[in-house]
């Protein structure tokens, strides 16, 4: 599965928005114990970078 990451609030930077290739969105806290955040850190360590701030999905 391919993901893109961005900050929900670039100023606050407490939560990441992960979007997969099917458009599914997952909000990930910057908690080192969170396995999704750990996956994000691994993703960063592989040389990837964040996208720009995520726009809120339309209702």
């Amino acid at each position: 599965m391919t993901y893109t990451f961005s900050w929900v609030d670039p100023d606050e930077q407490t939560t990441l928005c992960r979007r997969d290739q099917d458009g599914n969105v997952l909000y990930i806290p910057t908690d080192i114990q969170n396995p999704h955040y750990q996956h994000y850190l691994d993703w960063i360590s592989e040389g990837n970078t964040l996208d720009s701030a995520d726009e809120p999905p339309s209702e």
Binding site: V8, Y27, I28, H36, E59
Partner: protein
């Protein structure tokens, strides 16, 4: 010979006669001879050189004192004098008999018999009346005592240690009207081949009673009476994510994770149609595309990971590690050997301690109840915080990379042994599990039915599905229903959310509407 009453021989009162004989060969003129064994006067014959002599005064000899014979004419050198005495033998005077007494036939004694010396009986002794023994009856070589009737010990009975396991064996009923005191050992009531019942009030003494089964139901041998089941949602009731089938590594019901890696395809789903008695739900796993050959990395399992905080009480990784017992109902379309593995993590994330146990599905498509006891792991490092503590994993397929020999703790991330049935190789194969319980001790107790609210609350530490309403696009904060294991990841059907340790915040914007947020803090 004649006696005074005219009988020939000894008196009829005599039992029999014994003969005493002595021969004398004088070397000089001799008139007096002493008969060594004595004689009864009148019961004596004397022969001189073979000729019988006549007794009496004025005849050939005199014998009147019971011991000497006096010849009227001296015997000379070369003569032979033979004296024969006839002696009475009566049973009443058997003590005067010079030798042993032998009875060729039966010996009947009408009255009492007194034996001052020892009595040795080589054959079988039969006593038709009572036998009284004033002293101690001691036996050294007796193997068994067999009594057709009662044995009564008026002052008690001491039974010395018998064989290694049995000093006293009562094959029938045993009744003690007094107090039964058992020493430092124990009482074992074997109810496996029959029932054991106590009808009156039973008072247990100052320490404790160990009861493993009441009304044919097992009770804990260790651990608490409530919250015995260390697993959450063991009866598969809670499904906050919905009851649709999951096809990848996901949760068909709360807390139960399907893990899969295969070129085939599988599904896992909560079932209400096929359940064992007393259960309303099960998980059914189905092979939708077979993987004909199990590769080294292929695997398929259903597992629940217990948080370290909850597993800590098992004291794994210490010398006091406690045994645990897994019990569950299982049903499979493919019979054979399957595995349940307990796993631990030294760092809270990586599973690197395993104990594989095998069980057998004996009959296809039939519910079977299984219990497996696993010794506590005294080795390794076990997580005792909010990380991965102890996993219970049901293997459905295990490639060689996930195999470990059954029956001992190892350092692998195991799913099964080499005997594991590779269910993925069979198209449309199904495997069901229900009523899973993990508890401390070596006995599987009845499944602990907790009420729905309690069970749901336990699940919500790991996953929460919340319906909220956002009014006029106003952002707001929503506190979790209960503290979650970690700061969770979340999804939202509405505005974006930021997730914090105890709450999430829905971003402002948009219009009013309902939003479903799902928070995931699973292990």
């Amino acid at each position: 010979m004649a006696d005074r009453n005219g009988y020939i021989g000894r008196s009829p009162a005599d039992s029999s006669t014994v003969v005493a004989r002595q021969i004398f060969q004088p070397t000089s003129d001799t008139t007096t001879f002493t008969f060594a064994s004595g004689y009864s006067v009148g019961y004596l014959d004397v022969y001189l050189n073979g000729s019988r002599l006549v007794s009496g005064a004025g005849y050939d000899y005199r014998a009147s004192d019971g011991s000497t014979i006096i010849l009227n004419s001296a015997a000379v050198n070369g003569d032979v004098v033979e004296v024969v005495a006839y002696k009475a033998f009566n049973a009443t005077t058997v003590d005067t008999a010079p030798g042993n007494l032998s009875v060729g036939g039966n010996l009947t004694v009408i009255n009492d018999t007194t034996i001052s010396g020892d009595l040795l009986v080589s054959g079988v002794s039969t006593f038709q009346g009572n036998v009284s023994i004033a002293g101690t009856l001691t036996y050294e070589d007796v193997t068994n005592i067999d009594s057709v009737g009662l044995i009564t010990a008026r002052s008690g009975a001491i039974i010395k240690t018998g064989t290694a396991t049995t000093a006293l064996l009562v094959e029938g009923d045993a009744r003690i009207t007094g107090i039964l005191t058992v020493g430092t050992g124990s009482i074992t009531i074997d109810g496996t081949t029959g029932n054991s019942s106590i009808t009156g009030v039973t008072t247990v003494g100052v320490t404790s009673a160990y009861i493993t089964s009441i009304n044919n139901l097992n009770y804990p041998t260790a651990g608490p009476l409530s919250n015995r089941n260390m697993l959450i949602n063991g009866d598969m009731r809670i499904a906050q994510r919905g009851s649709s089938a999951v096809t990848g590594s996901s949760y068909p019901v709360d807390r139960w994770l399907q893990g899969v890696n295969t070129s085939g395809a599988v599904s896992a789903q909560r079932s209400t149609a096929v359940t064992p008695d007393d259960f309303g739900y099960s998980i059914v796993c189905t092979v939708t595309t077979a993987d004909a050959t199990t590769g080294t990395t292929d695997q398929w399992n259903i597992q629940q990971i217990i948080e370290g905080f909850d597993a800590a009480r098992l004291l794994f990784g210490t010398a006091n590690a406690q045994s645990v017992t897994v019990s569950f109902w299982v049903r499979g379309s493919v019979t054979g050997t399957y595995c349940v593995t307990l796993l631990g993590s030294s760092d809270g994330t990586t599973l690197d301690r395993s104990y594989v146990s095998e069980y057998t599905i004996a009959s296809a498509d039939t519910w079977e109840y299984k219990t497996i006891t696993v010794p506590g792991d005294t080795g390794g490092t076990w997580t005792t915080d909010n990380g991965r503590g102890l996993s219970v994993r049901f293997g459905l397929t295990a490639g060689s990379n996930f195999q470990q020999a059954a029956g001992s703790w190892g350092t692998t991330n195991a799913i099964g042994s080499s005997n594991q049935t590779q269910l993925l190789e069979t198209l449309n194969a199904t495997w069901y599990v229900a009523g899973v319980q993990l508890e401390v001790g070596s006995v599987a107790t009845p499944f602990e039915n907790r009420n729905y609210a309690d069970e749901l609350a336990k699940c919500q530490r790991y996953y929460q599905a919340l319906g909220v309403r956002q009014s006029s696009g106003q952002g707001f904060s929503y506190t979790f229903l209960c503290p979650m294991r970690i700061t969770p990841s979340g999804t939202s059907t509405g505005n974006a959310i930021t997730v914090h340790s105890t709450a999430f915040v829905i971003s402002s914007g948009g219009s009013s509407g309902g939003i479903t947020c799902k928070l995931d803090a699973e292990l």
